[in-house]
């Protein structure tokens, strides 16, 4: 049924790149999201102000614009930095060049970190205040109470939003082929141009994404069930 005209391995490795890119970006944005939410909820005006500016700016600008902006500027900034370091001393020649994969992960993580920040902020606020007070009265240190009390309860509220964000990240990785990464779309484009069957190969790329989103929907359902343990639902 699937006649890939010898392009099967390329499409497979493109798919793997897409999955790796999504998972790494998810991790980066998850961490940035946690940090951002803590910053936005901080009592310190300056820190919460930085958090607010970050989420407002990033969520107000299209991801593709940010991606091109960061991708092209990041390399120039790094070059400037290494030049500056070279001028300080002359024993070692610093040189860092970013490949599309790394800058893809950094950019996607930075952009979607803002969306995660908002998700986590809402979820933190949804955990009843008494829980943290109880943890403190038990003598738990901040890190400890975060890990044992706040995080597990917060995840329940955050999970629907996280699921959405994950689907959005998965689909946003499609844009990374525009900055030169050989993901599944680029592989399909190459195959299409090689065989003059663009429609066929692009549909296969679409199918790959459809399978990925369906699989992740299934796992999200399982996760949801795990974090909903102990919550009683109304029977209608």
């Amino acid at each position: 049924m699937f006649d890939l005209a010898g392009y099967g391995p390329q499409i497979l490795s493109g798919t793997i790149t897409t999955v790796e890119l999504s998972i790494l970006s998810l991790l980066v944005s998850f961490l940035i999201g946690l940090l951002g939410a803590s910053a936005k909820l901080s009592k310190n005006r300056i820190i919460s102000g930085i958090g607010t500016v970050y989420t407002t700016l990033i969520r107000g600008v299209p991801d593709l614009v940010l991606m091109l902006l960061i991708f092209y500027s990041l390399q120039i900034w790094i070059n400037d930095l290494t030049d500056w370091l070279d001028n300080l001393q002359d024993t070692y020649d610093f040189e860092v060049s970013l490949n599309p994969f790394t800058s893809g992960v950094i950019t996607l993580g930075f952009i979607y970190g803002a969306y995660f920040t908002e998700t986590f902020r809402g979820a933190f606020l949804a955990v009843p205040k008494g829980q943290m007070e109880a943890a403190r009265s038990f003598g738990m240190r901040p890190m400890h109470s975060f890990r044992r009390i706040l995080f597990p309860q917060m995840m329940r509220y955050a999970l629907p939003g996280l699921g959405n964000n994950w689907q959005v990240i998965l689909k946003a990785t499609a844009l990374v082929s525009l900055i030169g990464l050989t993901d599944v779309i680029k592989a399909a484009q190459n195959a299409g141009e090689g065989t003059f069957r663009t429609f066929y190969f692009m549909s296969i790329a679409g199918l790959v994404y459809l399978v990925l989103t369906t699989i992740s929907n299934f796992f999200l359902m399982l996760l949801q069930r795990k974090y909903m343990t102990g919550v009683r639902k109304a029977v209608l």
Binding site: G60, L69, Y72, I76, I185, F199, A205, Y209
Partner: protein, 234 residues
């Protein structure tokens, strides 16, 4: 940055001398694709809630496929894929349509936002309280009148906050148009970048324009919510 604004402000805002470009093009794409999406979504959302599987399964398949794949893939299929098919190539009307980047872009954007909007409206219709429907029926309303007078006005109002999100996301998605050679804001920024090799200034000018559009849209939708959802105020 000043240099880029001085040299490219006209392209960024409305024209390069021949065609509509920049802000005007982005807004046109946004308006036309949201209009197509809205017109598709209202009937499809009603069908999505139908009891007969022959009616709701096709709509479900449509939203499942369009929401499960990236817009970029859909745009590539429509823009580069369809033109290669022999029956499209052979029919002059279709060939003319799919040759133009802007036609393909509007088609892809309209279908894509239509799928998301269908699910938003379908959810809102599903949330209609049974009392309203019973009341409408007891007054002898036909199915059509019931939808026109009772279900749709309520559902569309309730969908407004989520729909405003979808419009903002659509604004962000219009940036993909530049891959199909449509001269929107990002295309102008990209041209400015290739001419000046100054990525930060070129793309941040574009980012600022998009930020302004986002803020205006958010402000407008907040006003609309205040107007249409006034009855929900505490």
């Amino acid at each position: 940055m000043i240099y880029i604004i001085q040299n490219y402000w006209k392209e960024f805002l409305f024209t390069d001398g021949y065609n509509m470009t920049g802000l005007a093009m982005t807004l046109w794409l946004l308006v036309i694709s949201c209009a197509i999406g809205f017109c598709l979504a209202v009937p499809l959302a009603i069908l999505r809630n139908a009891r007969n599987p022959v009616l709701w399964v096709p709509v479900w398949v449509y939203t499942f496929i369009l929401r499960g794949t990236p817009l970029y893939v859909q745009l590539l299929i429509i823009y580069t894929g369809f033109y290669g098919l022999s029956f499209v190539h052979g029919t002059p009307i279709l060939a003319d349509f799919f040759k133009k980047g802007i036609d393909c872009t509007i088609l892809a954007f309209g279908l894509n936002t239509g799928a998301y909007t269908t699910e938003i409206f379908a959810g809102a219709i599903r949330d209609t309280s049974f009392g309203e429907v019973d009341a409408g029926r007891s007054l002898g309303m036909s199915q059509f009148t019931l939808y026109r007078r009772i279900i749709l006005p309520g559902a569309l109002r309730r969908a407004l906050p989520v729909y405003s999100n979808e419009v903002i996301l659509m604004l962000h998605a219009t940036t993909l148009a530049f891959t199909a050679t449509v001269p929107d804001i990002l295309k102008v920024a990209n041209d400015a970048y290739s001419a000046t090799y100054n990525p930060f200034a070129s793309f941040s000018t574009a980012a600022l324009i998009y930020l302004c559009i986002s803020f205006v849209l958010i402000f407008g939708f907040r006003k609309a919510e205040q107007h249409f959802l006034a009855f929900l105020k505490p």
